[in-house]
């Protein structure tokens, strides 16, 4: 069985990126991501990728983690850029490929240098004033934390389901894969809900 990607896994360290306040990292990630999406130029895309690699190096993100975590994104990026080549030519294809990899690297660098609990605490502080209009900051932050964690968990379920379909000789049959996968994801969501309720999370 394949190993799930390790998105959202913190790598301890004391680099500048580890020490930066969470809100600075999250806002910078948002601003950089927006810039990458809005600036439509292949030379700029090369620059963004170089910047993402430099930031990953500053954060001392392990090369093995980088390679493993970007593998899945790379497949999607290659497919997307192939479509762009067909629709808009090689420049657009290269730009799409580089931009997608840059976005993945930047997100990975933030999650590798920031504890999810630190992101949650920062979010709770940031949206704290919204309590006055009925927003529960703890609950919003937990939902975002769960969303981050759900990605590798769901990938693991997908890989298990694919392996099970292959073992039954049904590897190429979409229904043999998709139907049990959807059922397992829904069942896992119910189990996780029960587990959160049992731990009293959301009670306060």
């Amino acid at each position: 069985m394949s190993t799930p990607l390790l998105l959202g896994v913190y790598q301890p360290g004391s680099t500048v990126l580890h020490r930066l306040p969470v809100w600075v990292k999250v806002l910078s990630l948002g601003a950089l991501s927006l810039t990458i999406v809005l600036v439509r130029d292949v030379r700029a895309a090369v620059g963004f990728l170089a910047l993402a690699l430099v930031l990953a190096a500053i954060g001392k993100v392990a090369l093995r983690t980088l390679a493993r975590s970007t593998r899945g994104i790379l497949v999607i990026a290659v497919i997307a850029s192939a479509l762009q080549w067909w629709a808009a030519g090689p420049d657009k294809a290269a730009e799409t490929l580089l931009d997608l990899i840059s976005l993945a690297l930047l997100a990975l660098t933030v999650t590798a240098t920031t504890l999810v609990n630190a992101i949650l605490d920062s979010l709770i502080r940031g949206i704290g004033p919204l309590r006055r209009v009925g927003v529960d900051p703890e609950r919003v932050a937990l939902t975002i934390g769960l969303a981050i964690q759900a990605i590798p968990g769901t990938v693991a379920l997908a890989l298990e389901t694919r392996d099970a379909a292959r073992a039954r000789g049904l590897g190429s049959h979409p229904r043999a894969y998709l139907t049990p996968f959807v059922i397992r994801v829904v069942a896992r969501a119910h189990e996780t809900g029960d587990a959160l309720a049992a731990r009293g999370i959301g009670d306060d």
């Binding site: 390790l6 504890l115 590798p152 309720a197």
Partner: protein, 230 residues
Amino acid sequence: MSIVFEGAGLTVDTPDGSRVVLAPTTLELAEHRIAVVGANGSGKSTLARMINGLVAPSAGRVLVDGFDPARDGREVRRRVGFCFTDPAAQLVMPTCAEDIELSLRRTVKDAHLRRQRALQVLERHGLVDHADASVHTLSGGQKQLLALAGVLAVEPSVVIADEPTTLLDLANTRRIGDLLLGLEQQLVLVTHDLDLAARCDRGIVVADARVVYDGPAAAAVDHYVASVPA
């Protein structure tokens, strides 16, 4: 801790009519270690889940230290920890330390102190070397140990464990079993591991949605074994 079932039962509506999941049950659970055994689908997990309000009875009520889980869920869950069969569903944070910290969020508001407490919990359970490891990289036994550590981190008075060793190999079954039976807390252990069940102080056998035997654990195991066709 007193756990009282006052005619608590569950009946659900199905397309084929109503189905009794657990017949009205009256019990008082006061012993230190209580095993619940029975066939798959017999109603033993429903009985266990009623104790912390994961399942609400459709008749009667359950009282935990005087609190009704259906009405006072928050008070009950502060006292009752629940360990599930599949730890993958219970571990909801990316790394081991963060998952323990999630349990502690209710009681420890300071982030630095919470981290320290989480590391102490991991140290206690021999998992501190995995503090910043992804929960997905742990073995099945380590995952269950981490899930249990997350439950114990908030120091509940009662631990409910629903088939906690079903997915584990022999060595991890023994490790988790010994840990559970050695707890200071009251333990309600739903299990198919009859050796583990026999080591408890009291045994309850559930069959066809009702309690059919309630007595010393070893005798309960004998009763259950005798009831299974060869």
